[in-house]
């Protein structure tokens, strides 16, 4: 069922835009003022809120995008503001797999094994053109896009993406998860 984010009523609102009013999906999902006033919420929403506030990425640095991924942990583009500064190296403790760089066929099997060893709920960000679509390497050695072996939530374009671009991808992921969009392995039956 190739449904799109739009079917979940998620408009592409930008969280980074401070002067933006309440985003469209909150109005559409009918959040009553009473609930907001009293701050009562459903358990599921509270769990979602907790999950987005500390989504730990897995250090899966492959190529040039890994250097830019390291830059977002630096002091200028600090990712700790979103609770994500602990880059876990073992998939057991990671929630988010940022595939940063080109995936060669020899690396496909380890990538798939690490994805399987991550615990639910887990998300995948295909960072950069090479991870999203094979980029400029349309040849025998490179996997033409990570979504052939792993269900991907967010595709971040550019080569390599600026740290701001990656952070916007991460924030969109938080926004989508808060809005109730299930992770990719539930939406898309690609070898869950």
């Amino acid at each position: 069922m190739a449904d799109r984010l739009r079917d979940y009523g998620l408009q592409s609102e930008r969280l980074l835009w401070p002067t933006k009013g309440p985003s469209r999906f909150e109005e559409e999902l009918g959040v009553e003022e009473l609930e907001q006033a009293l701050g009562i919420t459903t358990l599921e929403k509270a769990v979602r809120w907790a999950q987005t506030k500390s989504m730990w990425p897995d250090t899966f640095g492959l190529a040039c995008c890994a250097i830019e991924m390291m830059a977002i942990v630096g002091s200028r583009y600090d990712l700790a503001r979103f609770g994500m500064e602990a880059f876990r190296s073992s998939p057991r403790q990671a929630d988010l797999l940022i595939v940063s760089g080109r995936v060669s066929h020899k690396m496909a099997a380890p990538l798939r094994q690490i994805y399987d060893q991550m615990l639910e709920p887990k998300w995948v960000i295909a960072m950069g053109a090479c991870a999203s679509s094979g980029g400029m390497f349309n040849n025998y050695a490179v996997l033409q896009g990570v979504d052939r072996i792993v269900p991907v939530d967010i595709y971040v374009p550019f080569c390599p993406p600026r740290p701001e671009a990656l952070m916007e991808g991460i924030l969109r992921l938080h926004e989508a998860h808060l809005a109730g969009v299930p992770p990719a392995y539930e939406r898309r039956q690609v070898a869950t």
Binding site: K106, N139, Y140
Partner: protein, 182 residues
């Protein structure tokens, strides 16, 4: 130029773009390398490259050949060449780039020409840095180096068949929409 003539297995030498290339008979490559290292003082093997000259300047067309749903041999990729480049003796060439760590940084390229399926003696005993270089050329170009300590695939998976950098190996990947290769 003169003392290069004493390299065992010396065939010819040429000076181009400020670089000297000495063509050596593949059977004597190890003696030539040992001579170059001990007598001529080239103590570092900087690089070892194999090149495939299949379809070199055939029909006056330049560029990549590739078949099996890759590029078509007869479809010229470019207009004809103004000047046909000189014909190469055999299909494969192996170039050993040597460097002497002394004043003036003299460099030398020992080149030997092979047909497909020929094998050449490994120079790992002469320069240990040749170990991975030869494995990579075996892996990508299919050149067999006899006497190599453990000749196996280096960059590709062990169960990969074919040698990708050969000219008749298609580029692979996927046909891009709206492109002639589709």
């Amino acid at each position: 130029m003169s003392d290069y003539a004493k390299i065992p297995g010396y065939v010819s030498a040429k000076e181009e773009h400020g670089e000297t290339t000495v063509v050596v008979d593949p059977a004597h490559i190890r003696e030539a390398c040992t001579y170059a290292r001990d007598d001529l003082g080239f103590n570092m093997l900087v690089d070892l490259v194999a090149t495939d000259y299949l379809g070199w300047a055939g029909k006056g067309v330049s560029g990549y050949i590739g078949t099996a749903s890759g590029r078509d041999l007869n479809l010229p990729m470019t207009q004809g060449l103004q000047a046909l480049p000189d014909v190469k003796p055999t299909r494969f060439s192996i170039s050993y780039h040597l460097l002497a760590l002394r004043q003036g940084a003299p460099r030398l390229r020992l080149q030997c020409w092979l047909e497909d399926g020929d094998s050449v003696e490994s120079v790992v005993p002469v320069w240990p840095s040749a170990d991975w270089l030869e494995r990579e050329q075996y892996d990508l170009m299919g050149i067999d180096f006899t006497g190599h300590p453990n000749l196996a695939r280096l960059l590709l998976d062990d169960d990969w068949e074919g040698h990708p950098l050969r000219k008749d190996y298609p580029i692979g990947g996927e046909p891009v929409r709206f492109s002639p290769a589709e």
